[in-house]
């Protein structure tokens, strides 16, 4: 079916077209009022938890480093508010389990200006120094995975990176924060791209944008033209056909270059590094000023909120504060999701804070969830919709039946379970309403635990 998808002009094979629902795309980024108290978890990223540098009672100013990296795969954290450290201890996280966090109570009269940053001369820096500077900003992937950016940008010895792919797809329905960033912060984005190109040694940068955001493409194109020739190489902005899950780096590289990343490998195998537009725009803003990451753009949307929009939110803001400001009617809200509706996680507690990897807060009501509400789960009728939609070319129907029989080892050995990146396409299309992705998550977790137990 390669030919069919090629003739249709599709970016990558299979995938789905969920309703876009990007109602907040025209709303400019606005700053959220500072909350009276923020909770900064020490574990906001993939890797090791950071180590707290402050103690209860310490006074901190906004932008001051309050936690340091404990490992290579770890990042420092900075105070999102000027105030006093109220507690360092366990606080509820969005996933459920309580996690170590620093709680800061804001001084009501503080100006909340970021005074801690020291402007730095980036031109004079070597690649290693630049990576160190990126690490000092505490930057992680703001697209959702929250992988430490400095680790992604440091190219291992022997490997060569020639291309920086900038991910501006934002394929999840509802989310518009990256769209607004591309429109409003294209200068910062280009600056960030240039730093990233210097840090990785890439000679070209390609910004992949889905064609439902043609205005962002035009804005970036204009910014590239204004920039003129740059010593780092060249920057292109490219429209790709809208399709979910284009935001996955494998799918984006397929769309742009027609190349498959071999299974189990990173884009580095093709000499590429993929980074999100939000991450690079933040880098472009923070690096020259020598500041740390203390706030990010978050889309608040869904039929459960009165004032949806794109807000600049201090890291650590409790979700409840955010929803109060956005006007979430209590009666209507059924589900609060961090991230997009396809891969985002329903929160267990509204006291949980916004972390560096949260791109959106969706408050869904019965209106959006109606189909899931009245759904009856039927046995698999083998309609093949899931096979036709799986971007990874798996057989979710068979995997689901094996999961129901708890044959997890067969799922891994014969049906490539670990290739699944949980995009949710199969579950979205399943007419029998079988929770396939959830079954796969459970299967993966059980397999991981079994392997750990076997290793012991």
């Amino acid at each position: 079916m390669r030919l069919v998808s090629y003739l249709r002009g599709e970016a990558f094979q299979r995938g789905i077209h969920p309703p876009e629902e990007k109602h907040t795309a025209a709303l400019p980024i606005r700053r959220l009022p500072f909350p009276p108290r923020v909770v900064v978890p020490l574990m906001q990223h993939i890797g090791k938890a950071s180590r707290a540098l402050v103690r209860v009672g310490d006074e901190v100013v906004r932008g001051q480093r309050i936690a340091e990296a404990s490992d290579w795969l770890s990042v420092p954290h900075h105070a999102p508010l000027t105030g006093r450290v109220e507690a360092v201890g366990l606080r509820p996280s969005a996933r459920g389990p309580w996690q170590e966090a620093i709680v800061i109570r804001a001084y009501p009269s503080a100006t909340q200006q970021d005074l801690a940053g020291k402007p730095q001369d980036l031109e004079a820096m070597s690649r290693a120094q630049l990576i160190e500077a990126i690490r000092d900003t505490g930057m992680v992937g703001l697209g959702g995975a929250a992988f430490p950016t400095h680790a992604k940008f440091s190219v291992p010895a022997g490997a060569e990176v020639h291309t920086l792919v900038v991910n501006g797809c934002e394929c999840e329905p509802y989310l518009t924060c990256d769209h607004r960033i591309m429109l409003e912060r294209s200068e910062w984005l280009l600056a960030g791209i240039r730093y990233a190109m210097r840090a990785t040694g890439a000679r070209r940068a390609i910004i992949g944008i889905e064609d439902n955001k043609a205005d962002a493409h035009a804005a970036i194109g204009a910014a590239i033209a204004r920039l003129g020739t740059i010593p780092e190489g060249e920057i292109h902005a490219e429209l790709v056909p809208t399709k979910y899950p284009q935001g996955s780096e494998k799918m984006l590289l397929m769309a742009l270059f027609g190349a498959e990343i071999p299974a189990g490998q990173l884009p580095l195998a093709l000499g590429m590094v993929v980074s999100n537009v939000g991450t690079l725009a933040s880098l472009g803003e923070l690096l020259p000023a020598g500041r740390g990451l203390t706030e990010r753009v978050v889309t608040i949307a869904g039929s459960g909120v009165k004032r949806p929009g794109n807000y600049l939110v201090p890291i650590g803001t409790p979700i409840s504060w955010l929803l109060e400001y956005a006007g979430a009617p209590e009666a209507k809200a059924k589900e609060v999701i961090l991230g997009g509706p396809m891969m985002g996680q329903a929160v267990a507690s509204l006291d949980a804070p916004i972390t560096k990897g949260v791109s959106g807060v969706l408050v869904l009501s019965a209106q959006e969830l109606a189909r899931r509400e009245k759904a009856k789960v039927y046995p698999c009728i083998k309609c093949g919709e899931c096979v036709e939609s799986c971007p990874m070319g798996l057989n979710p129907s068979m995997l689901g039946m094996l999961a129901a029989r708890r044959e997890y080892e067969t799922m891994e050995s014969d049906y490539h379970l670990f290739e699944c990146f949980e995009c949710g396409c199969c579950t979205y299309v399943c007419p029998s309403y079988i929770p396939l992705v959830q079954q796969f998550r459970v299967a993966k977790q059980i397999l991981r635990e079994r392997k750990l137990a076997a290793a012991r």
Binding site: G233, A259, E260, E335, R371, Y378, I381, P431, Y433
Partner: protein
């Protein structure tokens, strides 16, 4: 504020199982209507009784807890309609009811209901009828009889557990010869007469004893395929394979074998290919598997028709295909992203926006050439050759 926690994805496509089944039922209604128009009251009674029998059996087994699915998902209606369409229109009603019961009870409920059956339930019912009532199932009544909306064909109203009366006497009263009540396939098999194409396609002319109109089934199937309620690959593969096999044999000895067109449009091949073989539960889910499954059915149909004792082979071909489908699925698993030949060879798809390596499009390097399509990947690149040539200059 009470909030719920559910696993992602939180949205869902509009399609669910009853919706799919309802669409299949709707698309069958024109076919049924034409069937009734052809054969009148008897066909109507047969459709109603067989469907009612299937639905009642489904309800019975849902109540006893033998199976999970219930009549709300319309799958029993599909089974009933398809079974009735595949039986002769004047099939005795009591036999139709028994076939309907067998279809659901042995074809579906026995293995646990919707989604768990190995064989297409309608075909299980028909296979049972074929074995139990060989006389009745071979007796077709002619279409477009003058009084078809006023009276039943006598065989329809046979008393339960009784054999139907001979149709020949009744036909003689209506001034038809016995030959009129033979299907085109039986005519070919036993008399060597080949019905012409137009009559087969529309079945409007004369008083041919044929099943539901192939052309109408194709149109309804095309609607379903366009809405993606059935997979287009299976009917395409079946008709392609059957047509190809029939054409090959016809090319070898035109006097022994009928033309491929006759093969495709006579009997139940179109109904089987469009509605029965495409039954989602009993066909493979993998795209390549669907091609293989369809090709197997198409080939078997022609082989059974030509070399078997019976004139019709579609039913057994599909049942064999159903039985083989788990096996077919096993050997036709899709190749995951990043594990196929594309990934291993580092090849790129045609029409990609950018080449993999930036050197080719560098604006600074004005002399850069567009890369030639490289068929032999181990051949040295152009730059290598250029640099190799330099020392000679």
């Amino acid at each position: 504020m009470t909030i719920e926690i559910r696993p992602a994805p939180h949205l869902h496509a509009p399609r669910d199982v009853p919706l799919i089944m309802r669409h299949v039922v709707w698309s069958l209604l024109p076919v049924c209507a034409f069937f009734v128009y052809q054969y009148g009251l008897s066909a109507l009674a047969s459709l109603l009784v067989v469907t009612a029998s299937c639905v009642a059996t489904e309800r019975l087994f849902a109540r006893t807890g033998t199976q999970a699915s219930d009549i709300g998902d319309f799958s029993a209606v599909i089974t009933g309609l398809l079974l009735a369409l595949s039986l002769p229109p004047a099939f005795p009603l009591w036999m139709g009811a028994v076939a309907g019961f067998v279809a659901i009870a042995f074809g579906k409920a026995m293995t646990g209901g919707l989604g768990r059956n190995v064989f297409n339930p309608a075909l299980v019912g028909r296979a049972f009828a074929q074995a139990a009532f060989p006389q009745a199932i071979a007796t077709y009544s002619p279409s477009f009889l003058p009084g078809r909306f006023a009276e039943f064909v006598p065989s329809t109203l046979t008393w339960p557990l009784m054999q139907p009366p001979e149709l020949a006497a009744w036909l003689k009263v209506n001034r038809f010869d016995a030959l009129a009540s033979a299907t085109p396939l039986a005519l070919w098999k036993f008399e060597g007469v080949i019905t012409d194409a137009e009559a087969l396609l529309t079945s409007l002319s004369g008083h041919m004893a044929v099943g539901p109109s192939p052309l109408l089934i194709l149109i309804c199937g095309a609607y379903l395929a366009a809405r993606r309620f059935l997979d287009w690959r299976i009917p395409t593969a079946i008709l392609g394979a059957a047509g190809l096999t029939a054409w090959l044999l016809y090319a070898l000895s035109p006097e022994r074998f009928p033309n491929p067109f006759f093969m495709l449009f006579s009997g139940g091949l179109i109904l089987g290919a469009v509605y029965m073989a495409t039954d989602m539960v009993t066909s493979p889910v993998t795209p390549r598997g669907m091609w293989l499954y369809g090709a197997l059915i198409g080939l078997l149909t022609v082989v059974i028709r030509y070399y078997g004792g019976l004139p019709e082979g579609v039913m057994y071909a599909i049942l064999i295909g159903n039985a083989a489908s788990p096996l077919i699925e096993k050997i036709t698993q899709p190749v995951p992203f990043g594990k196929g030949p594309f990934a291993r060879l580092g090849k790129t798809r045609m029409g990609a926006s950018y080449p993999l390596h930036p050197t080719y499009i560098s604006r600074e390097d004005a002399g850069a050439e567009a890369p030639k399509k490289r068929i032999f990947i181990h051949k040295p690149k152009q730059e290598d050759r250029r640099s190799a040539e330099k020392p000679h200059e």
